[in-house]
């Protein structure tokens, strides 16, 4: 492992010869302020949405029980978004996560109900299969240098097919209540356990992306494969392991959904895929703007769900949800693009 060797002599001469740089702190604070403003845009919108629906429906929407149920019910989605973050940072779009999640949910239920397995081994097999599927997807992409978009689309279709095939296209009903106990029935601080699992995974993801060399190297891999390769980074293995970890996390999300619903229904997961991508890109506009980040993504998941919940309570039709996700994804992508180019422009101004 390389170590940093500090060339102290050169440093001292340089710092003594050239005193501090005037205007540097002001330039930085200007950028910092713009950054803070951008970063707080989404939380601000969140507060507005809560306040708006709170005033419109104080009796149903603005109840703690409504929020705890939103937290509990949407924990699987929150976990699933985490599966996307490392591949996205690496510059890889994984379109198979939602179908993988659906397949693992069905697999665990099918093993438990149709095959009579105990719930714990069923879960362990589900997690292992999810990880393996991520490895296969990542392996194909890296080994053969194929377009991840097409491969993950195809893998998604395969996962979908397997999910339909296993229980013979029927819903799996009667999954072990123990799983439900340990996901939504037990509470901490009045919020179901699965939410806290999600928070745990979010913190791990935040740590990995922000506080490890792996996460920082992923930024290079995502921004420029050439630079990363000539910097000696193992581009292929970084991308591969991102898919492996993504598969594992998607499997966790699938298991949690079994617990939340108590059943597993083989179905197309297109709507869910759009929701998680909307959250990942919307998350890019907040907390750590311009980067795919775990905390921003979680804030976005609940922003989207609270808004949808509020719309339902004021009597909107269910198709509004699809409209809303689509519109938000467009807004999120355009906004983060604008933020990035604005920042580049303001940084360029700061230099002159």
């Amino acid at each position: 492992m390389m170590t940093t060797k500090v060339d102290t002599s050169a440093e001292q001469t340089a710092s003594s010869s050239s005193g501090g740089a005037p205007g540097r702190s002001s330039a930085r604070s200007r950028i910092f302020n713009a950054r803070t403003a951008e970063a707080s845009l989404l939380p601000f919108a969140f507060v507005l949405v809560v306040a708006g629906f709170g005033i419109a429906r104080p009796d149903t929407f603005f109840q703690w029980s409504n929020f705890t149920s939103i937290f509990g019910l949407n924990a699987p989605t929150m976990v699933l978004v985490m599966a996307l973050l490392i591949p996205l940072t690496n510059g890889d779009l994984d379109l198979s996560v939602a179908e993988l999640y659906g397949m693992i949910a069905v697999l665990v239920g099918w093993l438990n109900v149709n095959q009579g397995w105990a719930i714990v081994p069923a879960i362990l097999v589900g997690l292992a299969v999810g990880t393996l599927c991520g490895a296969i997807t990542g392996g194909l992409i890296v080994r053969f240098g194929v377009n991840p978009l097409i491969i993950t689309l195809a893998m998604g279709s395969i996962f979908d097919g397997v999910a339909l095939w296993l229980p013979n296209q029927l819903s799996v009903v009667g999954i072990s209540p123990k799983l439900t106990d340990w996901t939504v029935l037990h509470h901490i601080l009045g919020i179901p356990l699965d939410f806290w699992y999600g928070i745990g995974i979010m913190l791990i993801m935040f740590y990995v992306l922000t506080f490890t060399p792996f996460g920082q190297r992923s930024l290079f891999v995502g921004q420029s494969r050439e630079v990363a390769r000539l910097s000696g980074f193992k581009v292929g293995s970084t991308r591969f392991w991102a898919f492996v970890v993504g598969g594992f996390i998607a499997a966790i999300a699938g298991v949690l959904s079994d617990g939340v619903l108590g059943t597993a229904t083989p179905q197309s997961q297109g709507g869910l895929l759009l929701a998680v991508y909307a959250a990942a890109f919307l998350g890019m506009t907040t907390i750590q703007p311009g980067r795919f980040n775990a905390v921003g993504a979680v804030v976005s998941v609940f922003f989207l769900q609270v808004a949808v919940n509020g719309m339902n309570l004021v009597g909107a039709q269910s198709y509004v949800q699809q409209l809303f996700y689509g519109v938000i994804l467009v807004i999120a992508v355009v906004t983060s693009r604008v933020i990035n180019s604005r920042r580049a422009a303001s940084a360029a101004r700061a230099t002159t």
Binding site: E11, I31, Y207, F211, F220, L230, S231, A344
Partner: protein, 545 residues
């Protein structure tokens, strides 16, 4: 045998008006005079070679003709006797009878030959963007066109799979067709084809096909401006040679009456010392010149890319310049040595490693104490949308780990110290890389690699796109590092730079080391030796083929 029998180099068709007549073209960039009132005339049916080393004003002249640069007032351009208002409309040069083929050829590799040939004007059954394309008729027409130029190309082949020579032929045919089109459309007789270093990357023995094609084009009465470093090619097809040096015309000579030595002297401004050249070119690779330090990098018969068997030793504390013209193989050498060349091979010996280069990868090379600063800063050097601090310290992230956490505050702190040390402006490592000028970005990249305390530093055009003041800072920085014992391999086509920094220079031509030089160096001396080594090697390769 193809073509040396046709087109004796003095049979320029003398039509009344020159196909191209430019006078007093001038251009400055920020106080630097790149082109200083140059006149140029090309007759119909004449091939004029444009010679000159890097920075002599060749590319500025070509870019004025293509409309990319606007010349300073006072210059004029006449095509076939008709005055053309300057600047030439960008992208519309063909409407005044100028057509260009650049070194990168501008072909779409995934498309078929016909699609490339008719890119702008497909053969359709009607007008409009959605008229049906008549593929059969198009192929037939393409076949006829190729036949008329004596070129063998399959119209339905995929361009990316053709040999480089065939691709070059296609690009030239396409450009010549543009000129024929221009004649039909404007009922004109002129037209000038500009070939900007089209032979650089082609194997020596295949260049004859290109020459044949150029002769056909000339036989049609078109004028050709042939921009090249390649003395053999110039001798083969050009009637006249215009030589630029330091932005001014240094000579305008008939090729038939000028010797190689005359041309090289015009290009370099250096009186050719026969015996020195003999010595330089006969001193084969590996001719040991006494150097102070131990050998830290020993390269034995390395090949890969355009490198065909290079052998040399690099010593501690030495700055070894590699001088070669574009396409000589020197531009691939640093990447091959860094383990980044596909299908590279040959033996490499470092103090604690020895083996075949095919076993090397960039990450391994870094661990062995090598560092590479690539020429293409935008694509291979830096990530513009990440902060300076991260770009600078991306290789040392592990040393900022503290109880399991990457300390970003420390990272930025150290980066800010480095920013002072290396005089990067502005002094703020949290800015994105894109906010820095080219020179400052380059300092960040150099500091990234120096942070690793490498034993061997491979530099490829390290001052490309860097302002003059920063350039000298970089030279000074590298000299200091060399004095501390780092071995530096410096590959550049800027011979002024090599003369300034090198302790020893190897001449690279046709993928091999063609000789070595010892100080004192001057740009002119390096230029003349590189050109003659290249001409010498080309003659050898042709007789061997």
């Amino acid at each position: 045998m193809s073509g040396t029998d046709q087109a004796a180099p003095d049979s320029a068709a003398d039509s009344a008006l020159p196909a191209l007549e430019a006078s007093n073209l001038a251009k400055s960039f920020g106080g630097v005079r790149a082109l200083n009132g140059v006149d140029l005339a090309i007759n119909a049916g004449e091939v004029v070679a444009l010679l000159g080393e890097n920075g002599s004003g060749k590319s500025t002249l070509v870019k004025i003709l293509s409309g990319y640069h606007e010349p300073e007032p006072g210059g004029s351009l006449k095509m076939n006797g008709v005055n053309v208002p300057l600047p030439v409309p960008l992208g519309q040069a063909r409407t005044v009878g100028l057509s260009f083929v650049y070194q990168d050829l501008g072909l779409a590799p995934d498309l078929q030959v016909v699609e490339n040939l008719f890119a702008g004007h497909r053969v359709t059954s009607g007008a409009g963007s959605f008229a049906r394309i008549k593929w059969g008729a198009e192929r037939e027409q393409a076949r006829q066109i190729f036949e008329s130029y004596g070129v063998k190309l399959d119209p339905s082949a995929q361009v990316g799979r053709l040999r480089p020579t065939s691709q070059a032929l296609l690009a030239i045919v396409r450009a010549a067709e543009e000129l024929r089109e221009y004649r039909r459309e404007y009922e004109q007789s002129g037209g000038v084809l500009v070939l900007d270093e089209p032979t650089v990357f082609l194997p020596e023995h295949e260049k004859v096909f290109l020459f044949d094609l150029v002769r056909r084009v000339v036989a049609d009465g078109f004028g050709v401006l042939f921009v090249s470093h390649d003395m053999t090619a110039v001798r083969e097809i050009a009637h006249r040679a215009v030589v630029l040096r330091d932005g001014a015309k240094a000579g305008d000579v008939a090729v038939a009456t000028a010797s190689d030595a005359d041309l090289i002297e015009l290009v370099s401004g250096h009186r050719l010392d026969r015996s020195a050249i003999e010595q330089a070119t006969t001193h084969a690779a590996g001719a040991a010149i006494e150097t102070a330090g131990d050998v830290v990098l020993s390269v034995n018969d390395v090949h890969g890319g355009r490198v065909h068997g290079i052998t040399f030793d690099l010593h501690a504390g030495e700055i070894l310049g590699i001088a070669g013209l574009l396409g000589a193989g020197s531009e691939d050498l640093p990447y091959v040595l860094f383990g980044d060349g596909d299908g590279a091979g040959g033996e490499l010996t470092l103090p604690d490693w020895s083996g075949d280069i095919s076993d090397l990868s960039p990450s391994r090379a870094i661990k062995l104490g090598m560092a590479l600063v690539p020429a293409d800063r935008k694509r291979q050097g830096a990530v513009p949308d990440l902060p300076v601090a991260l770009n600078m310290l991306s290789l040392s992230l592990e040393s900022f780990m503290q109880s399991g956490f990457l300390r970003i505050d420390k990272l930025i702190g150290i980066a800010n110290q480095r920013v002072e040390t290396y005089d990067v402006r502005p002094r703020d490592a949290s800015l994105n890389m894109s906010a820095l000028s080219g020179g400052n970005q380059q300092k960040v990249l150099l500091s990234r690699w120096l942070e690793q305390s490498p034993r061997v530093l491979l530099l490829h055009e390290p001052t490309q796109g860097v302002d003059v003041a920063t350039r000298h800072q970089i030279y000074e920085l590298m000299r200091r590092r060399a004095a501390q014992g780092v071995a530096i391999l410096w590959v550049s086509t800027d011979f002024d730079e090599l003369a300034t920094v090198s302790h020893r220079i190897l001449l690279c031509a046709h993928g091999q080391i063609a000789g070595s030089m010892a100080p004192p160096f001057s740009r002119d001396r390096i230029t003349s030796e590189v050109y003659s080594a290249t001409a010498h090697g080309a003659a050898k390769e042709v007789t061997a083929a």
